[in-house]
């Protein structure tokens, strides 16, 4: 490019001046960015949290491998090795029938358990988790075929439902976000286009005075960038303040057990950065796109 420093300064100056000289058009553009980014921000906060929520539940998916009660003790032990050898298995945890009975007794409180202690009806169990929870079904099938395994239980229907729901939630979320961003770009490029149509005569004059296309384009680039960043101020402030209240209330006041939103730091800052970046991109994109066709003079 080889642009001189003074020329760069000149473009910065002109770009910022245009912000003031275009009065209400500037306000309209900034307003469009602001509204869009608020929507995108709220939406992203919801989607990221839902996604995290879904991932948490997914990673809790585990299967119980009930062993044949008549199995000899050494065979019970060797099955652990067989389980770990299966492809995609993440962790294997042994839980003997005695441990399970104790746990059950503790959970249920004082009852007459003597009978069971003499002849424990439970079976020895392995709790198996796959590395990727989506492999649960296929791994469960393999385990069921092993010698000495009585049955494998992982709440098949529930897990499958969960996976479908979270999959569709993610797809719908992604589509909505992309849709919102494109609507914003369209809005902004239209708003800026109106200011540029008003300036198309000026662009023609600039070219007649010997300005190159890039010389004309740079101030518009700067202007778009500024419009985008200025439009991001209110949404970012809303995210920083709003999410602060939300995260405080969700963790302290309401204890819904497993509903835990993403922690304020770093999430609120990451989201703010993202909104700022989206604002800058739509501003620049909108203005550069709309100036393009007027440069063919």
């Amino acid at each position: 490019m080889g642009m001189k420093f003074n020329t760069a300064k000149r473009h910065l100056r002109e770009g910022s001046k245009n912000i003031f000289r275009n009065g209400w058009m500037t306000i309209a553009s900034i307003g469009a960015v602001t509204v869009t980014l608020i929507l995108v921000g709220v939406f992203l906060a919801v989607v990221f949290n839902l996604n995290k929520f879904a991932t948490n539940i997914e990673s809790d998916v585990e299967m119980s491998v009930y062993l044949d009660p008549t199995l000899a003790q050494d065979k019970v032990q060797s099955i652990q090795g067989e389980l770990e050898a299966i492809d995609k298995v993440g962790s294997v945890k042994y839980s003997s029938k005695d441990e399970q009975l104790n746990q059950l007794m503790e959970d249920m409180g004082q009852t007459d358990w003597d009978l069971f202690e003499q002849d424990n009806p439970l079976s020895d169990t392995y709790v198996v988790k796959t590395s990727d929870p989506h492999d649960t079904a296929s791994v469960a099938d393999k385990i069921a075929k092993l010698d000495g395994v009585d049955k494998v239980d992982y709440g098949k229907a529930t897990v499958e439902n969960l996976f479908t729901v979270s999959k569709y939630a993610r797809i719908i979320g992604a589509v909505l976000i992309i849709g919102l961003v494109f609507t914003a770009i369209f809005l902004i490029s239209n708003t800026i286009k109106i200011t540029i149509i008003a300036r198309s005569r000026e662009i023609g004059i600039m070219k007649l005075v010997g300005a190159t296309n890039s010389f004309i384009r740079w101030p518009f680039f700067i202007e778009g960038l500024l419009l985008g960043v200025l439009g991001a101020i209110i949404p970012v402030a809303l995210v920083l303040v709003g999410y602060y209240y939300l995260s405080n209330n969700m963790t302290d006041n309401i204890s819904i057990g497993f509903v835990k939103i993403l922690p304020y730091a770093p999430f609120a800052f990451q989201l703010s950065g993202l909104l700022l970046a989206i604002g800058a991109i739509i501003g620049v994109w909108g203005s550069v796109m709309s100036v393009r066709k007027f440069l063919k003079v």
């Binding site: 003074n6 000149r10 000026e202 070219k207 005075v209 010997g210 190159t212």
Partner: protein, 228 residues
């Protein structure tokens, strides 16, 4: 400096503004373009700075055929030529100062040189005190002088002036002619379209008369030749 060979120009609406123009203008010449309204004078000068492309024929500036330039090199041609447009073509959102500075910013002059030179040319055309005004705050004659200041700001090799005195009172007109004569003395080629019989007949220079898109007369030290 400037050559045209067999230049025809037909606009998109079917009007033929130039109908076979052959001309040679040397470096350092001072040329008047005269002729009735609609004869093709403005179209003639537009050929030189590529304000319009010829329909057929060749236009050369500095011995280079303009049609061989890539689109992105056209700005370089335009920077060698200062143009005073018949309709001024000032940038409405820039001040008078900024309008003139623009011609120097595009050639990436340093800010100090720009400041000095802008004030110098504004002074030369007698409009220094309006530097901070916007074009729509100026009279037609004042705007015309700004256009002249912008055209000569970067010391172009050629100055094309399309009726530069059209809106000026006689006194200011002679002042502007003095500016044009001065830069012509320093070697700048001047091409000036005009309807001013008085100027053409007083400051005698080469006169090219155009009628219906053709050159009908071309004489050194000629007369205006039309009744006003």
């Amino acid at each position: 400096m400037i050559d045209m060979k067999g230049v025809h120009k037909t606009y998109a609406n079917g009007v033929t503004a130039l109908n076979g123009v052959d001309v040679h203008i040397d470096s350092g010449e001072f040329v008047y373009l005269v002729g009735p309204s609609g004869a093709g004078k403005s179209t003639f000068v537009k050929m030189i700075f590529r304000g319009e492309k010829p329909s057929t024929g060749i236009v050369k500036v500095d011995n280079k055929d303009l049609s061989t330039y890539k689109e992105r090199h056209i700005p370089k041609v335009r920077r060698k030529i200062g143009v005073v447009y018949q309709d001024f073509k000032l940038l409405p959102k820039l001040t008078i100062y900024e309008n003139v500075a623009f011609a120097l910013e595009v050639i990436e002059e340093s800010p100090k040189i720009i400041r000095d030179r802008v004030m110098e040319v504004l002074d030369l055309v007698g409009i220094k005190d309006k530097a901070r005004s916007f074009p729509d705050e100026l009279s037609g004659g004042e705007q015309q002088r700004v256009a002249i200041a912008r055209a000569i700001a970067n010391n172009p090799k050629v100055v094309i002036a399309d009726e530069p005195t059209g809106n000026l009172d006689p006194e200011t007109s002679w002042g502007i002619m003095k500016v044009l004569e001065d830069i012509n003395q320093k070697g700048t080629t001047i091409i000036m379209a005009t309807h001013s019989k008085e100027i053409v007949n007083t400051i005698k220079r080469r006169v090219i008369a155009i009628e219906n898109g053709r050159i009908v007369r071309d004489e050194a030290g000629g007369e205006y030749g039309y009744e006003v």
